[in-house]
């Protein structure tokens, strides 16, 4: 097969610079255009407006009695809300930091000591720990127990035993009134 001739091969001089410049500009324009077209597609995979609109929820706490736990769904994940009894609060507050794999005081983990709000996802590999229902196994420390790989959490949701590296996450939340919170 015959290769094409290239009459420009012999071209020299000032035309050369102008041609190089045009090539560079043409190449740059093509790259910019392609990038500008690809970005909206990539961005479309980010959370959409209807998803973002539900990224914060309001929870009414008034029906929850002392010692009771409820689970609500926030951003597709379970959120544990426990109204702790005085004894649980006392244990959580008195635990020495030295005993904790991920040291954190109970005070840092609550807005009001009576209310503990946690993202109910084990920090090991993402299972949902047991301990919300009355019959559940609560682990060796009276908090939560993850059945997947045996992580034990205490009454402040802190990791005490097992493979999980960190304490259960506390979601961003604020009290709107004494009896309602906004999560997210």
């Amino acid at each position: 097969m015959a290769d094409g001739a290239n009459p420009e091969n012999s071209a020299q001089g000032s035309g050369e610079t102008r041609r190089e410049f045009l090539y560079l500009t043409a190449g740059a324009m093509t790259v910019v255009g392609a990038a500008g077209a690809i970005w909206p597609m990539i961005d479309s995979m980010n959370p959409s407006a209807d998803v973002l609109a539900l990224s914060s929820i309001e929870v009414d706490l008034s029906p929850i009695e002392i010692g009771q736990s409820v689970t609500v769904t926030w951003r597709g994940k379970p959120v544990f809300i426990r109204r702790r009894v005085a004894e649980e609060i006392a244990i959580a507050e008195e635990t020495p930091l030295a005993d904790l794999p991920d040291p954190q005081t109970d005070e840092d983990r609550v807005e009001k000591p009576e209310w503990l709000v946690l993202v109910g996802v084990c920090t090991h590999l993402g299972c949902v720990p047991l301990g919300q229902k009355t019959g559940d196994k609560k682990g060796d420390y009276g908090g939560w127990f993850c059945p997947c790989h045996g992580s034990h959490y205490d009454t402040s949701g802190r990791i005490r035993k097992g493979p999980a590296p960190t304490n259960l996450e506390v979601p961003p939340y604020a009290f709107l009134t004494d009896n309602s919170i906004k999560i997210g």
Binding site: P7, E8, A11, G15, R18, R19, L22, Y23, T25, A26, M29, T30, V32, G33, G36, A49, D50, A53, L54
Partner: protein, 290 residues
């Protein structure tokens, strides 16, 4: 290049109008001027807010707006607190709760407008057997393919409740038996023979509307002078309310119109430069080819 573009533009526009005319119907929808038309068109927020008021006070009694959420009202110029307040005026069904029952609660911005009837059958039953259509896409679902055509249609329909004539053009006009029949009609028919075939108008329970296909519409004239009291003091004439609600429904159907035109202008500028650079490079490269 600019000439070519203008040429495209003109060609496309003339194509639009000829297609609109060719679409068969004897009813021609009059064109209106809308702020959202044209190269840089955008919505008129004051008109959108008034149109929303017309929808809320009049249309929403029968027509749903399923695809629009309260949070979308931010496009109309409302702030977050105003939207929360508007949403709170509505109740929506939620649930089931822990007892397994559905319950009612105040709407939040993330909710969509609740429909006036629980389902289509109920809507039909309460409205003489025909469910009032959802209005979310009305401005794109009835007429034409250009921005503004649908709003023109809604405006025409709302202002088209005139006194009923004795007779209207029949839905089936003259049928030709073949090509020769058609040609002889085109060439030799008298003016009298070319007039549309009329039929007497029998309204029954329906209303006459000069822009509705078939001229008989189940919806009674929805707007009357001062049907709403505009909070901005604009006099609420039927024309004003029709224009505002048409504007609002165009927004409801095409909420991204402004983003579309803004992006379009930027993309077009880029493409013009891109094409000019490529043209110069192409000229340069081919200059020595003989």
């Amino acid at each position: 290049m600019k000439k070519i573009l203008i040429g495209f533009y003109a060609a496309a526009l003339s194509l639009t109008s000829s297609v609109a005319l060719a679409s068969g119907s004897l009813i021609e929808i009059p064109k209106q001027e809308w702020s959202f038309q044209g190269t840089f068109g955008s919505y008129d927020k004051a008109s959108l807010q008034r149109g929303f008021q017309v929808y809320k006070d009049v249309c929403s009694g029968c027509h749903s707006l399923d695809l629009v959420a309260f949070r979308n009202l931010a496009d109309l110029g409302y702030n977050e607190d105003e939207i929360k307040a508007i949403a709170a005026e509505y109740t929506v069904e939620d649930g089931p709760n822990d007892e397994g029952e559905m319950f009612e609660r105040n709407a939040i911005p993330a909710d969509r407008f609740p429909a006036p009837f629980p389902n289509e059958k109920a809507a039909a039953a309460s409205n003489g057997g025909k469910a009032p259509p959802d209005l979310s896409l009305m401005a794109k679902a009835r007429h034409g393919g250009s921005d503004g055509d649908g709003a023109d249609y809604i405006y025409a329909l709302l202002t088209g409740y005139t006194d009923a004539p004795e007779e209207v053009p029949a839905s089936t006009q003259r049928q030709f038996t073949g090509l020769f029949d058609f040609l002889s009609y085109k060439l030799f028919a008298t003016e009298e023979e070319k007039k549309p075939i009329m039929e007497p108008l029998e309204l029954g329970d329906l209303s006459y509307n000069e822009y509705f296909s078939g001229y008989k519409i189940a919806m009674a004239p929805p707007l009357s002078e001062d049907a709403v009291e505009y909070s901005d003091g604009t006099p609420a004439t039927v024309e004003q309310m029709s224009a505002d609600v048409s504007h609002f429904l165009m927004w409801a159907a095409e909420p991204k119109l402004e983003a579309r035109k803004n992006t379009g202008v930027k993309v077009m500028i880029f493409l013009i430069i891109f094409t000019l650079v490529m043209y110069a490079a192409k000229r340069k490269v081919f200059a020595k080819v003989h």
